[in-house]
Amino acid sequence: MHGHIIPTRTYLLVCGALLVLTGATVAANFVELGVFNTVAALAIAGAKAALIVLYFMHVRYSGGLTQLIVLAGLLWLGLLLVGAMDDYLTRGWLPVPGK
């Protein structure tokens, strides 16, 4: 039919990268980095997710609409987290007791 056919080699490379990143994130856990442990873990997870979405799910090669949907998903997830955390993180910012 139609659609970009990605060479098998790319899939294998991506899979290799994913496994290496998994190793890295586990290794990072044994180093004491303070808050950066969490930052590193999430950054690596983000990179892995990006690889899967871009290559395994073909988003890198698919039409603008699919890419738009992926972006929309990220954006809305962000809205949910940012909007709600805005409440928790800013408690006590302004001089109002209990809020």
């Binding site: 496994l19 949907i69 998903g73 949910l80």
Partner: protein, 219 residues
């Protein structure tokens, strides 16, 4: 090529004009569905974030009660299963022999099942340790209610993920049977492609669950 294409069997539903339109519609529908799945887990991620923010130390404590080795191995298992799934779609898409596709699908399903088995062992260990909220919870240390929240989220998030995986395995199995029956060809493989998308999404979710649950604190 054209003649061969005509010979291939590809069902076109009455309300579509072309096969291409039908294929595009199916794939778009799948993507929109994946969007709903993302928001479903998104709500869980918010519950997680709020509680981790409130009980940071407790979550570290809870995370130490999870087995990093199990989690890491399972991550690798799912990644390889995703590779096989991607290759299966590739194989269907490029019109390789149906047995090649079937074999790859079989591998995917097998690894998915492996994941569930490993997860099962993990659950069993938590059960033995009386760490299952609501069922056999028994915590003697400090901060019992908060630790319980951690475990509640752990079981709920991994549980919902496991349900998705079970659905995924079922779908892969159906694709496997249909492939063997020769239902798909390079003109018509949308169901395999869509199953693949679903499978990868389930993998992506796990990619985030792993650090959020297992890597909160130094082990």
């Amino acid at each position: 090529m054209t003649t061969r294409r005509h010979a291939l069997r590809a069902p076109l539903a009455h309300h579509f004009d072309t096969l291409e339109q039908q294929h595009d519609a199916n794939v778009l529908g799948m993507w929109v569905f994946l969007l709903t799945e993302l928001m479903l887990f998104g709500a869980l991620f918010l519950m997680y974030t709020v509680n981790r923010y409130a009980y940071a130390r407790v979550f570290e404590e809870g995370s130490r009660h999870l087995d990093l080795a199990f989690g890491a191995v399972n991550t690798a298992v799912l990644i390889v299963s995703s590779l096989l799934m991607a290759l299966a779609v590739h194989s269907a898409q490029s019109g390789s022999s149906r047995f090649r596709t079937a074999l790859l699908l079989m591998g995917t399903a097998a690894l998915g099942t492996t994941f569930l088995v490993i997860k099962g062992f993990e659950y069993y260990h938590h059960w033995e340790a009386h760490e299952v909220p609501g069922l056999n919870w028994l915590w003697t240390g400090a901060n019992a209610p908060q630790i319980q929240i951690f475990f509640m989220l752990y079981f709920f998030m991994t549980g919902v993920h496991a349900i998705h995986l079970i659905i995924g395995i079922t779908l892969v199995a159906i694709m496997l049977l249909n492939t063997l029956r020769g239902k798909y060809n390079e003109m018509y493989y949308a169901p395999v492609e869509m199953t693949g998308l679903y499978w990868h999404l389930v993998d992506v979710i796990w990619v985030f669950l792993f650090p959020l649950l297992y890597l909160v604190a130094k082990h």
